[in-house]
Assembly symmetry: C2
Homo-oligomer: 381 residues x 2
Amino acid sequence: MKNRKLLMIPGPTPVLRSIQDEMGRETVAFGDSEFVADFQQLVNDLKELWSCDGMAFVVAASGTFAMEMALVNNLKRGDALLIVSNGFFGDRFIEIAKKKGYVYDVLSAPWGQVVSPEQIAKQLKNKKYDAVTVTHVDTSTGAVAPVHDIGQVMKDYPETIYIVDGVCSVAGEPVDMKKDHIDVLFSGSQKAFGVAPGLALLWAGKKSLERRDMLPEVIEYYADYKKWAPIMDDTKKYFATPAVNMTWAMKKSVDIIKEEGLENRYARHRKNAGAMRAALEAMGFTILADPSCRAVTLSNPLYPEGVEDLAFRTELEKQGVQVAGGLGEYAGKMFRIGHMGNVDEHELAATVCAMEKTLKKLVPGYEVGKGITAFLKYLCS
Amino acid sequence: MKNRKLLMIPGPTPVLRSIQDEMGRETVAFGDSEFVADFQQLVNDLKELWSCDGMAFVVAASGTFAMEMALVNNLKRGDALLIVSNGFFGDRFIEIAKKKGYVYDVLSAPWGQVVSPEQIAKQLKNKKYDAVTVTHVDTSTGAVAPVHDIGQVMKDYPETIYIVDGVCSVAGEPVDMKKDHIDVLFSGSQKAFGVAPGLALLWAGKKSLERRDMLPEVIEYYADYKKWAPIMDDTKKYFATPAVNMTWAMKKSVDIIKEEGLENRYARHRKNAGAMRAALEAMGFTILADPSCRAVTLSNPLYPEGVEDLAFRTELEKQGVQVAGGLGEYAGKMFRIGHMGNVDEHELAATVCAMEKTLKKLVPGYEVGKGITAFLKYLCS
C-alpha cells in the first residue's frame, strides 16, 4: 500500500474528516430553517471571534475575490491607496488598483522581510491616503507583517481605511480588528480554517461600512457590500444562492476553533512552526523569512547546495507529502510548506520523516535522524 | 420515523449520493495531477456538450456572479443593451445594467408569457445593440423563452452579442450554442446539474472572446475573462484557488449527463414535467405559464380557491416536501416546484402523494387519488 498523500502546501490545507463530512451531507434548501440558523451562527461567530464591530460576509468565491471586495467598497476611482507589499500577493493589489483606477503608492520590502510600521508612519505623514492595504502573511515569502503595530500607527489616521489581507493568516496568526485597529479583514476557507476552497470571508468594521455609504454607486455587483448586507444581517433573505455545503463546513471549522480557543490555536501554530523550522534547519535548509518576521502558518525553506527542486518535490510526493514550489525569483530555489489550520503533530512528524527519506535518496552520505530529532527536541523543550 | 425531506424547490435540487460523495472526498492540492486532469476534462466536456467554439469557465461563485461576468466582458459603459425580461430574474439585468452604466432598453412580457422572437426582431431593426440578454427559464414564472428561435433572429446581427441566462435551464432544457447562435451562456451548479450551490459556469463563444479583446480595460477583476482564460486553457495554471471538491462534484454531474445523453435527459425532463403538471392540474392548481411556453425544469402552480399559501407549504413540509414560495405579485398566490436535474420518478411520485395528503388536511371534502392517478396515467401514456 502506498502512503496516504499529506497535503502540506500552503492551502488547501488538510481537511478534518468532520469538516469534510459537512461537505458530503445531503444538500438542503438555502431557506431551510436549520441551514438559516447555522449560517447566521457562523456569521455571528466570525464577527465575535475577530472583534468586528460591523459585519462579516461569507460569499461563494475565492480569497482573490475578497481582495476585490475589500477595495471596491472603500475606494472610488481616483482615490489614494497605499499598498504595503512584502511579496507576490502584496503586489497583486497593484494589479487590481490599476484596473480600478486608484492612485496608488507602493511601499515594499525585499522578499523575506517586511515593511516596518515606521516606514508606513513616515509615508502617512507625507501624504493623505484613503486606504492602506497590508498583506498579513505573504505565502510567497512566509513573512508576517506586524499588523498590530501598524494598527497603532493607523489609529491616528481615522480617515484612512486599514485593510488587512488575512488569506494566509486568519485563524492561525493572531489578529484582532479591535486591538489592531483594522477596518477590513478578509480571508478564504482553505488556509488556516482548514476547509476546502470555495468561500471568501470578509469582515467590514463600522468605519468601512460608513465609507461604503459615502461612496457613489459601486459599479461591481457581486462584490458590493450593499447586496450582501441584508443577508448577513438576516440569513433567511436572498441575494445569490449561498454555497450550502461549503457554509456548513465553514461553520464546523469555526465550531472547532471555538472549542480549541483562539489563544490555544495561536499557541499551537507557534509551537508547530517552531518544531518544523528546527527540523528544516537541522536538515540543511535555510528559512527565507528573517527571524524577526516569520509567520507561523507556513515556512519557505531555501534548498541546501546540491538539492534540486524538482527532484526533491517529486521524490517527496512519492513518499506521500505534497509541498508547493517557490514563486517569482525563488522558483526552483525554495519550496513552501504549510503548517496551519487543523494540521497536527502526527502529520508534521510524518512530513519531516518523509523529507528525511527524500534527502537520503538525493544527497550522497545524508544521515537520517537529524531533522526529526530536532523536531522532537523542540516539541519537548 | 419522520419522512425524509425532499428538496423540490427550484434549486438547489436533490444531489445524488454519488455527486455528494465527491464533495465529501479528501481535499487535494489544486496542482494535484489527478485534480488538474479532472478539472480539464470538466471544462472540455462543458464546451463540447453545449457546442461552444470559445471557452468554458468554471468559477467559485454563484449564478448571480455569472450574470455579471457575462455582461462586463461584452459591454463597456455607454454601450447599448437590450434586456428581454420575462420575470424577476430577467429584471435583475436592469439592476446590473444601471450599476454598470449601460444604455438599456427592456422588452418585457407579462408574467407567465414570453417576449416573442418577432418583437425582438422588430426592436433590433429599429436600433443597434451591442448585446441582448434573454433569461432562458425565469424561475419566477416557469416560462421558457424560445432561445432557438430568437437565435435565428440574432444570427442576422453579427455585431450584437447574444447572452442567454441558463441558470435554470442548462442540462434540463434543450440549448445549444451553435444551433441557437448563442454567444454567451451561463448557469450555476445547483439547478439542472444537480450539484450543491457554489459554482458559476459560463460559456463564451468565439465572438464573445473577440468582443472582450476589443474592449478597453475591464474594471472588474474576479469577473474578467482574461484572468481565468489561461487556467481554463490549462488547468495546471493558477489565478485564484479553485473550489476543489465542488469541481469534482460538477465533474461527476457532467459524467452522469454524458452517460445519460443530453437528448435522453431532455426527454426525461419533458416527461417528468408533463406528469407533474397533469397531477397539479388534477389536484386543482393552475399553471401560471402559458401552455405555449412552459419550462420543463420547474412549474409555478397557482393555488385553487380556499388553499392558503403558508398553510399549504407548512403542511407539505411536515409531510417531507419542500417547495418554494411565489415571487413579486405572486407571493402568497403561487408556489414553485422544481422537477429538474437528477430528480427521478420516485421522488416526483412521492411529492405528488405528499401534496394529496396536504390537500386532504386543508380542503374539506378533498378526495385523494386524483393527482397521483393523473401522474401515473401521464407516465403510462
